[in-house]
């Protein structure tokens, strides 16, 4: 079937070039950021392209690690990753499992009630007032409680649970197993792929989330990593660094770029793992709700 005309070759050539360019646009910034973060002051301040630092130095990183809120930021982000993901999975399983059982009543209405939360949102101000009334403002719980209720994830898990053969559940029931036991012993062990997928969605959400911090938390000690990064990178709050005692302080650019590297590190480390499960996960997620 390979009748290759010159137009055909040209088209494929153009595609290769375009895709190549796209890759460069993503990969180059990464090299640049890494390079500047290790550069000495003079070099980092130079404009234009950066490939390999001529005099690599760890000054920026040393400075960054003395930044007062980096560690608490890491801690708070870790808190929301662990507790938040656990809570999300618990709520998602507890909502999806009863809905997946044939004999559970009012399924249609209950699913519609979930769907509605996906297409209508109270808005920023009512959400803020709610957190205020619940006394969640300026607490770490505001990071993990609201995000545990995610209708889309419930629907994804629901459709996975439905694909588990009924006979397995029925057999266990005849053996006298109660619902909780069936969930723990039969349904959950068979659902590892979807649990991993939703768990990873949740983990990535929590690593990168900062809106809830911006809206609800003003106490710096409770800021998550991304909010600290935002202050350094975007709001240019570099005052804490000027207290550094070294003779030639690192360039602001180096400080910012080392912040980028340090804060993106968890994702970069997880990346190969994420790739393996996420592609499959999007496919699980594409089933109709």
């Amino acid at each position: 079937m390979n009748i290759r005309t010159w137009q055909d070759r040209l088209a494929v050539g153009v595609i290769y070039v375009l895709l190549g360019l796209l890759v460069v646009v993503v990969v180059y910034p990464f090299i640049h950021v890494l390079s500047v973060s290790f550069s000495s002051r003079g070099e980092a301040l130079k404009s234009g392209f950066h490939w390999i630092p001529r005099q690599p130095t760890l000054d920026a990183y040393r400075n960054l690690l003395t930044y007062p809120y980096i560690w608490s930021g890491y801690g708070n982000t870790l808190f929301r990753m662990v507790i938040g993901t656990f809570l999300t999975l618990a709520v998602t399983v507890c909502a999806a499992y009863p809905l997946s059982r044939k004999e559970f009543p009012w399924k249609r209405v209950l699913i519609l009630l979930l769907l509605f939360t996906m297409i209508f949102d109270g808005g920023i101000v009512p959400n803020y007032l709610l957190m205020k009334e619940l006394h969640l403002l300026n607490t770490r719980w505001v990071y993990v409680l609201p995000s545990a209720a995610n209708a889309f994830e419930v629907l994804v898990m629901l459709s996975f649970f439905r694909s588990i053969p009924d006979e397995l559940v029925e057999a266990a029931r005849i053996d006298g197993a109660r619902d909780m036991r069936i969930l723990a012993r039969i349904v959950l062990p068979l659902s590892m792929p979807v649990l991993v997928t939703i768990g990873l969605w949740s983990l990535v959400y929590h690593i990168n989330a900062f809106m809830d911090n911006l809206l609800y938390v003003t106490d710096q000690g409770k800021f998550v990593l991304q909010q600290i990064v935002r202050n350094i990178l975007i709001q240019n709050q570099l005052d804490a660094f000027t207290a550094s005692t070294s003779e030639v302080p690192p360039a602001p650019e180096s400080l910012k770029m080392s912040t980028v590297i340090v804060s993106a590190l968890p994702v970069l480390v997880m990346y190969p793992f994420l790739l393996r499960y996420f592609e499959k996960g999007t496919m699980i997620g594409s089933v109709k709700g």
Binding site: M1, I3, H32, G48, V125, P126, A264, G289
Partner: protein, 299 residues
Amino acid sequence: MKMLLKHRELFALYLFAFAFFIVFKYGPIYGVLIAFKDFRVIDGIWGSPWVGFKHFEELFQNADFYRLLKNTLLLNLYMLIFAFPAPIVLALMLNEIRSRFFQRFVQMTMYLPHFVSWVIMSGLVIYFLSPTTGVIAEIFGWFGAKPIFFLGQKEYFRPVVVASAILKDIGWSSIIYFAALSGISPELHESATIDGASRWQRILRINIPSIMPTVAIMFILNLGSFLSANFEQVINLINPVTYETGDVIDTYVYRVGLQQFQYSYTAAIGLFKSLVGLVLILGANFTVRRLSRGENGLW
């Protein structure tokens, strides 16, 4: 009652989960009431006096509102025109590549920005677009062009937002289209080739029609977050110079509502936005169902 007892374990599980939805998803909907009241913190949501549609009338007379509405609609329209088809084009291009290695390599690289937060992404956009030290300014220099301060000029705000949004999610969003393309039977292509169809014709007549159902679903899902999209991005890229074109409903509500405490007034804008969003998604779903005779659509 008997049913409750029989399924008490299932009900207990469901109640635990549903409580989260009641409190955190339906709770704010109760708070929407303040859009029809003059909210005072001491009186609480229920105790504050009713004022009917006062805030909405104020809203529709305020020039700010039309600016926000225009910015929000335009930005989202550009997103729909440019950012929505981008991953489809990427998937179609990847599908023409024979080398599995190159295909995987491009995919794995293009997924990466999706996992980086908007804080970092925006910070890098600002840094690379800087007119003094940025790489883009350097490239402009090669062609003898003067550097442009992209984020300091209101005309460039929307293009920068759309372009960076494309870059962040083009790879990730292409997964689903790529999978749909891989599902097309190779026999279809073979027989078309024998009939003398060119590559371009095969893309146009086989590939694109085959992925249309997926495109329709993604389109509706996209409309679901139509007016709320890009908040995380805009709030990081915007600065007072670009308020005129960049300020969207959400950024305004955040600034004026939460930072200047005009709760009721901005709750009214928020409600307006949510209602428009609701109408849009229901309308889109209805239209897609009609067009595909009930086969596509979310529900």
